[in-house]
Symmetry: D2
Subunit: 407 residues, 4 copies
């Protein structure tokens, strides 16, 4: 790979990406463009602008954007249509944000004539894969720089020395090492590493950042209604809201009731297992509500097929294959199942749990007429069941007869 | 089908199966053998004996058995190895009990020379299918009598008239109709029908029978440890227990903390949707614990395959295909994955939720050495990730180049 | 089910459906509307009109249509996009025609105000299921009459007696029983029953009807080129043709070279196994050609997903679930994979085999630059493979280390 | 990776692996042990011994083994139980041999105290992955040396110079470059590269090495019978044979009739597409025969599950994951399906095609009694089909009613 001339860096404004910014300048002598996105991580973006300027980035090379609506509408919601969970439990909060960041990095690179993009993910994690696969899928000629895999700043001490040597301001509270590593966006906050590295040891309380402890949550349950149209949430308690507003509101509600905490050991794409603490308050409510509305509006055949496809779909997102033909094929199948997923769901939030306790829809497939224990006025002829069972059983009988014969 | 001569009836001792007993005698003039099983439903079995005798069953034709250990060991545990949930949520508590009952019915029929078995499931539900597919798979020549599909006792009034006309004692509290229908065994209690038939309306509190309301659960969390060997739970808090004892104990713990309630609309095999309230306190703890121990002892490749196979496996059990070659094939695959699923898990039980907060095992695949944020002493070469990503990306790049070319 | 008042009958003009026509009139006293479709079965349709008139059907109640283009465009081609084969071998020639017939039956019923449709499939086969599931899916209120399941005309003698008693002309060669049963359309001819019922015995030569014996095929191979656009065949040897014309031409070519014969024992949806002789000359060429064009234009990720979905898709079509949400979901996924399946394929036809011997496309993903054994000018860095393998191997190494430790 | 001290090399005796042998000695100064296996590639092994000795390998460091029976029994046959084909067509002849070679390399390394193994696969292909994943899975501490990824002998000229400089004898006919690259074993011969690199161009006749041209095959078909026990071939024309003997005989028969040629463009695991010419004469017969015997002895439920699992299974073998928990899980499922796959099949071999024309078994599930068009003496009640269809249709009707309502 020839040396990059102009690099778009995913820049948070924090110490690490500031070091990367400087390192790109000094190592490659290349022009750096910064991209700072508001994905709902809950941090001010303007300090990133100031810091970039301080580090010598020209104003026209500083891109700061609020992408929250795009994030929820085009990434989070499509994923939730699939009820995607990785390894049974993880709601993919980090995984789903990476393709959007890469998409904007590549778009900005094309707009400013940059030949490379750079990210601050380490060589041990999944994020490097997600950033890079997305970038290459969107622009096969782009270069991707991953400084953590290249440089020799392999300890905290070396990083701080580099910062000082390059006039990068280091906040006092960043001098010591953080007790764990955090990633956050509108969908979730993840924490991992260091104090969390022993999976036998319960995560300390201070790790949790956006959900109250279930023990501290209100003593009374709260009931909310989530409205859906074609598989996507569109309202809370009858009030229509934009995608990002809905997720923000669900986060608030879930966080207040201690919902959506997860302590997980997961298998990384790069081969080892890692332990993460995830907080996905709004997503947890959304998944429960989406399953609830599907339960009355989606046919069994469609639902079971979706359930069979989901693990593969979740794995693709986890592994960074958002922009792959197979993810798009699965998305087409999933989206085709959502036409009638319209209606509303009542959730009960209480001390860490969110449970569906009611659901209704004009598109309902639930037929009280058919299912009733009472007289069904001929909607269903119980005698049909005899024939149904006989033919379902026929192959099993043939097997049993055979097995008797040859045993 | 020619008329049965001797029928083994799945007999609970309750009013409905007593009416069936009498109806079999009067309708077919056949000898009736009763089979009453203790599956952990929490009812005394001896009254069933007395009642059967009262209805004229000869003592040698009354079979009463405690099958709880067999139930958990040979049915519940193998199913939990798969982390089986139907339609994302249902733990299959009723579904998994039916094959065992059919198995014993068929075995008793063979032992006493009966040519038929009979059950009390209605023509609208899944249970008729489960009973009958299992029976036919185990004995292709057996006749299965399903009185609810045959007789014309289609209302409560007619049933009571039949009971009175045939000297079947009717308890006072059975004169009125139950407000909903219940099935129970060691794994779960299910309630459905009548007051539960509108899925928009929250289930009334009195429906729940073996779990306290989360609001009434203890205000302090309780931590327990569940030990596993080769995928099956073997101990609680370090104390080794038999399968049924473990499930009983987990039920007690889960019930006390309000765990394992589920309000679900599900797609029945016979074609309509129904709404059920399920309480699976011990099973809910077991599933969380099993996933926890798998998370450190099972490789990603095995786990993701299991996750992909699970929906099909759960569907087979739900639909009554326990004794089918495809369920046995899936079981072989699942069992092959459990060799190293040995270790222990810590669960936190609190106000309706059961969450894994720690897990450890001599068989762990988690390698702190590999995953650490600290110096890993060369266990993992971050530069390998560059090659890994390049080759993962190659096909995506080739697609992107093609798409640019032909657009 | 109340008696039908006006029935649309799938009418071939042959003896069996003429008997059904009469039986509907006499049994139900209902008005009969006939629908006769040209699906490419190679029979004149006008005799069916004359015969229907003879049996008293009013001219406005006789519907005769050429649906060959619709059949290939909307049913056969979408199915071939999936490379669908049932139980590894069967190209679904009968299965795929049934939904179209049901669709037209239901549409005509709605147009003429009929409340029922009727078909001539027996109670042992798959076709009854396919006809009826499609009809019910398209009109849930329609009645479906299946005379073979209702009447007592259970022997050839009784059928002929009924025909004579009702002035139905019986051709001389129909007096004896056919030695096997045949179904034909533009995609295939199937033969089954009677002389074919012993699966150990080779099918006699006279069973085959639209393919020459490979031994009698030309001694020289013939090479043809099939052009594709977005997954569908659009030309042969460079000449653009309509869907039905292409399939007709492929049938001619395949039939001449003895291609597309299949002798299969298959598992019917109704539970037993049956043996069929299938001739699908054009379809066999089409499948080979489609796979060939996919091989250079479709990415591995998409192709492997398609391969995994295919058996389920084929099963749905075989079982009669063309009009089901899950078939539509799978179709959406499959169609999404065909955007770039454009190009051409060269087939060699010789003595019963059709093999792809060349393929080319502007949409090709094949990169000689990458794959070459010669100098690739840096397109591919072989050293990347080392990192790729290391990370692929990591989880296997961790397993091996664990297994050593705990053995 | 520290330098290896003692390396076990997969040694063919040919020029390339002789160069590798020497390069290992000169580059690493390490002791080299050679392993030469008879996998049925059809070459004498003793010349490899002489050549190794000539290159200075001590006699006790030369391992020459006939592993044909192990290859067929433990690798080929288990794979054929699955009817495994990669991307619809490829019988995995190269893929399945690699794990066995790695297994012996690792076992010999452990026996002789070597710390490394080496292979002659290039950095662009799948074989490097297969060799190395197998080696690491069997011994996580082993080093694997892949000289083609390390050295700078990147042209034919450089290789020959190295050979000459190191006194490696070069046969005259090896001075020029081979027109394509070949791999062979008892299951297949593959050819790729160079003259085959343009997938539009038909492979020249001289590429094919173990099958006659269909045009040159006998003008009369030949019929053979293949006997199976529990899924594995055990006899030909009634004569019991060992696994390798059967495959050898099938190769002879298939080769004589021009069966088993395949011209394929496939997706490599390392990301690019490549074109290969495969000849798998015996395997092609075996696959057809195995499908034939399964068709009467295996239940539909088991078969369809197998068909769904197969693409994943084939992909795992292709990608080199033979020794992975997920392949072992799938194998357990597949093997569980083969208990009754016992009986015999008649194949017709003619001018390039092998087709099953008859099959019989004591374990047959085919019931002429059930399927017959004649009177079935009550084996099957056609009226059952009505109930079967009604309940299969119920969910489709509910969908149709809903869709009408909300449209």
């Amino acid at each position: 790979m020839s040396a990059p001339k102009k690099v778009v860096l995913a820049y948070s404004g924090g110490l690490d990406t500031s070091i990367i910014l400087k390192w790109l300048q000094t190592e490659y002598g290349c022009e750096v463009v910064t991209f700072t996105a508001d994905l709902g991580q809950g941090e001010e973006l303007e300090p990133a602008r100031a810091k970039a300027e301080l580090l010598g980035i020209a104003p026209e090379n500083i891109f700061i954007e609020d992408v929250r609506e795009e994030f929820v509408r085009d990434f989070v919601f499509p994923m939730f249509r699939a009820n995607a969970v990785y390894e049974g439990l993880y709601l993919l909060g980090t995984s789903i944000a990476r393709p959007l960041i890469s998409k904007r990095l590549v778009e900005i690179a094309e707009a400013v004539g940059a030949d490379a993009v750079a990210h601050g993910a380490t060589g041990k994690g999944n994020d490097q894969v997600r950033f890079e696969l997305a970038a290459y899928a969107l622009n096969p000629d782009i270069k991707v720089i991953a400084p953590w895999r290249e440089w020799d700043l392999s300890s905290r001490t070396k990083l701080l020395e580099f910062a000082e040597a390059n006039q990068i301001p280091v906040a006092k509270d960043k001098r010591g090492e953080a007790p764990f590593s955090v990633d956050a966006n509108l969908l979730h906050t993840s924490s991992e590493g260091k104090v969390l590295e022993d999976p036998a040891v319960m995560a300390p309380d201070y790790v949790y950042q956006r959900t109250v402890h279930p023990e501290d949550a209100p003593n009374e349950p709260e009931f909310i209604e989530v409205g859906f149209e074609q598989g996507d949430a569109v309202s809370i308690n009858g009030e229509a809201m934009s995608p990002a507003t809905i997720l923000t509101k669900l986060n608030e509600l879930g966080g207040k009731h201690g919902c959506g905490r997860l302590d997980l050991v997961e298998g990384r794409f790069v081969g080892m297992k890692s332990r993460g603490i995830y907080e996905t308050p709004g997503g947890t409510l959304l998944l429960e509500a989406h399953r609830g509305i599907e339960s009355i509006t989606m046919d069994r055949g469609a639902m079971h097929l979706k359930d069979e496809l989901m693990p593969k779909y979740a794995e693709l997102i986890y592994n960074g294959f958002w922009y792959s033909p197979e993810r798009e094929m699965l998305q087409a199948a999933i989206d085709a199942s959502q036409t009638h997923v319209t209606g509303a769901v009542r959730l009960k939030l209480y001390k860490g749990s969110a449970t569906c306790v009611g659901r209704w829809s004009d598109h309902s497939l639930y037929s009280e007429e058919h299912v009733t224990f009472e007289d069904d006025a001929g909607a269903y002829d119980q005698k049909d069941a005899a024939g149904f069972i006989q033919l379902q059983a026929l192959r099993l009988k043939l097997i049993a007869m055979r097995n008797k014969r040859v045993k």
